[in-house]
Symmetry: C2
Subunit: 339 residues, 2 copies
């Protein structure tokens, strides 16, 4: 190592945003916009600023950028999902998109408690976050977290009941359609549905999607949907009941993977050979459950990480003045295993 690259050199004055502005022949504000990807600039200007920054080895420092833009480059994420099953994949996806925008997230756990949620909201606003993501664990619409908030809010997974808000949701009917397509393609014609509580939007939407998709193939569902709980015990019990009344069933679409695991156990223990006699499809692609089932579950992945990524992108857009209200639907995809 030469003297020039030694420790002394690294403590030299850091290249500042003003140096970049001077070299590119633009204002400091234009540099900020160009490097943040915000505001409306000609592509040529943006490219010139980026080239100047590269030539000078300029890395923007958040603190300096904050002062420039009046922004804190922080976002609040309020989750109601203490156990992380739905919230964490959403959070991971959001973090990917936020990091690309040089943002960092405060995580607050609302624990389905409106008082905690309002407390967290107050704390986040007090710290002048640039925006807020509200991540739910159920697909039922929820009341908006507040009215006339000073920063944009995006609702992830659990949509806001106000259609003027921005929400990102899974494709519940599409999930049922993917399951039916797979079951029909693998030769199933007598398809039943075992799912969660009728009071849950996701159970209803998936059941409605199943009926639609079967009708598109000129098929009738086997029996009414079996509404119950999101548990293995319910899956086992319902599978036994199903076999007693409909011994010709050859396919079961389950409302989630936990139920599907119970259904596969129940069918197997009743002497049914899987998937030879009956095909089973779940929803969630929850690795732990889907992979441990016997046989491992074919299931619909709702794209939770993508919901997180999309939510963060929409929030960044809104922060930059391009709000896109309404409900944004993220499609799922089928993961084929052995069931």
């Amino acid at each position: 190592m030469t003297d020039e690259t030694g420790p002394r050199a690294t403590t030299a004055r850091r290249v500042g945003i003003a140096d970049v502005a001077a070299r590119a022949g633009v204002s400091v504000g234009t540099v900020s916009k160009a490097l943040n990807g915000s505001g409306r600039l000609r592509d040529e200007t943006r490219a010139r600023v980026r080239a100047a920054a590269d030539e000078l080895g300029f890395t923007p420092i958040s603190v300096a950028r904050n002062l420039l833009a009046g922004r804190t480059f922080t976002v609040g994420v309020i989750t109601t999902d203490s156990y992380g099953r739905f919230g964490i994949p959403v959070m991971r996806g959001a973090e990917d998109s936020l990091a690309a925008g040089e943002m960092i997230a405060f995580l607050c756990d609302g624990r389905d408690d409106p008082i905690r949620e309002q407390h967290h909201l107050g704390k986040l606003l007090e710290r002048r976050v640039d925006g807020i993501i509200v991540a739910g664990r159920r697909t039922d619409p929820r009341r908006p977290i507040g009215a006339d908030l000073p920063v944009p809010v995006v609702y992830a997974f659990a949509p806001s009941s106000d259609p003027a808000d921005c929400s990102v949701v899974s494709d519940e009917r599409g999930a049922a359609q993917l399951a039916v397509e797979h079951l029909v393609k693998t030769g199933r014609r007598r398809i039943a549905h075992i799912t969660g509580p009728q009071s849950h939007a996701s159970a209803n939407e998936r059941a409605a999607g199943l009926a639609e998709a079967l009708a598109a193939h000129d098929l009738e569902p086997v029996d009414e949907p079996y509404f119950g709980s999101w548990t293995e015990a319910w899956g086992r019990f319902a599978a036994a009941q199903l076999l007693r009344t409909h011994d010709d069933v050859d396919g079961v679409f389950c409302g989630n993977d936990v139920i599907a695991r119970g259904v596969t156990d129940g069918l197997r223990e009743a002497g049914i050979s899987l998937p030879t006699q009956i095909g089973v499809v779940g929803v969630d692609n929850w690795g732990l459950v889907a992979e441990a089932a016997r046989p491992p579950l074919t299931t619909v992945d709702l794209g939770l990480e993508e919901i997180g990524r999309r939510s963060a992108e929409l929030l960044l857009d809104a922060i930059n003045g391009h709000a896109q209200p309404g409900v944004h639907v993220v499609p799922g995809h089928l993961v084929v295993r052995e069931s």
Copy 2:
């Protein structure tokens, strides 16, 4: 509602910290210390300040307090546990303690990637967090996240390999001891151990703890520990193998709940009546797994939330100048179900 409590009244000048100082007859700095619970004050002074604050209806505002104390009242939590199984309960516990100290947490997901971790560390320091919690998902010691950092760091669940750091860990040997006490108390004498990979500290520590606890009862373990993987499939396979070679076994201590679930399935499918013939105990008290097992699992809860709470308390202490280096062990407790 009268005019006095109407909207106009609520927009009146907010009571400030200077008002509290004047009423209590102390300096603004003393008010800050008294309300933050920091610094060294006489109890009488602290009580006087609190009384003055209560009388005036003064609620400290973080922003003002930040300026006073040179603190941001933010903490960074870097987790390596993308799936939330271990990180989220730790985080919940930490949030409880942090909220009590009026702190809010930035959550960063290191994803077991040292480059991401250093990136997050840099971002957190740039935002001048008051301290950092590093939450791991394995009990193996990990390298320190950095040397000579400007803020205190507490390692949660995965301890730092540097004993001069502050770490909060689960009681791995104690977990085995709790399991053995329960098995022996319920009449088991021929106890085997089916667990995870020998390369994991938790598998080794729990196996060592089992041997110690059996020796204390003058019992010999049935066979060497069965080291394998943290999966149900391994649990089922090992249970079958165990029965073939040791048909007198009457108790199995499993390295975690997932393995225990496989063991209960394997034993039940081999015609063993549970818990009549063989008692099974797991580790983790992971509701989803423990409650869905047949029979529901008796298991050792490692106290992850308590590890989070304790970590945050130790961090707050360190921020306030009372660092307590070393390894702090949080005891677990037995949760008795039907296995």
